[in-house]
Amino acid sequence: MIDKRFADPSAAVRDIGDGATIMVGGFGEAGSPVELIDALIEQGAGDLTVISNNAGSGTTGLAALIKAGRVAKMICSYPRSADSEVFAEQYRAGRIGLELVPQGTLAERIRAAGAGIPAFYTPTAVGTSLAQGKPHGRFDDRECVLEHALGADVALIKAAAADRHGNLVYSKTARNFAPLMATAAETTIAQTSAVVGLGSLDPEAVVTPGIFVDRVVLIDRSPQWLDPSRSETGWL
């Protein structure tokens, strides 16, 4: 019997250790797994490396994790935020490391880790400071830089709905990095606003097959996702 559901965010993040590398889904606040991050703050793990497109907005979620001093290094494309000074303050004080990666290269490196591709060539960033010191190669008369897969110990992501196998669908642009991160972490933890019966998700429209997901945590039941006529008895 496969049942990946965990009782609550605390149970789902309990075993994350100091020094872990953690992927955090979301583009700005869209798709940010806020409740899982809150549980991680409570849990106390520190010295974390966090891979996420941004470095927190406002004062909650990733910004709160950084403010609590738990993040030793950020790997991201856009750590600047109009509404948050948390990362900037720690960065200027030299208390947090930063590996800046072009957004598409960040996405592709995460995908590569999930797909078993250890490295790939890309034209992105050639001739800029972000490609300096990296191996280069020429293909079809175009200079490219070699980029490496980027995996993690844990991925924290947010889905719109899940089933007990861990199949996931997302909501609009909250999808962003989550399907990639799910493939690239040893342990993928998805918070979701609905758990539906097995067979309720259209097999043609599942975005993240359950094989990539280890833990599912229901945060809030959004009635529009529930279809009692299709729910599997006992597994809704």
Partner: protein, 234 residues
Amino acid sequence: MTRTTPQALDRREIARWVARDIPDGAYVNLGIGMPETIAECIAEDKEVILHTENGLLGMGPPPPPGEEDTELINAGKQPVTAAPGASFFHHADSFAMIRGGHLDICVLGALEVAANGDLANWSTGAARAVPAVGGAMDLVSGVKAVYVMTRHCTRAGEPKLVNECRYPLTGRGVVDRVYTDLAVIDITPQGLAVRELAPGVTLAEVAGLTAAPLHDQRSTHRESHPDGNSAPSE
């Protein structure tokens, strides 16, 4: 926006200039900031598909107040809508569109553009600044035509079109055309080539505000006010 000269266009007028040149059926990515204005200037008889790199093709206009959805935003993290025929996808698929050369045009802002097409638009290199690159380097290396939309000079009056960029580069030799408040300028193998001037602006004025040689490649039939061609007046 401080005008470079009394005749300089305002942001919306530059946007109309760009919008006029986007062909029907084009797939376009509009950068954060000034280029976002272009969307609302596209003529209604043209169907242009907007891409936003955070995972939406077929971006529609902002929603009416009160109907914003925090999970339906653009790359600038502003609420948008999904037009009929839209699709959502993850970031790797989104940047496959960009890097794979499937987008026809992107329009970006700039700190500096060099006469050889080098672009600097992501970092001033200032010591205390938090560096942030986003998707700019991916866009300039992947999209078929890279346009820049910018004021001709900085707020301090310094030319943004230069012989060589001083700021950290976003890409080398990547810019195809620049739309400013004074002129439309193509990047050519010979350097900067003026295609059009804003009404009442002279070539000498533009040259005086440009820190690289300018070639005059205006053809009479293209020289016109941004409102004068296919874009409808408002």
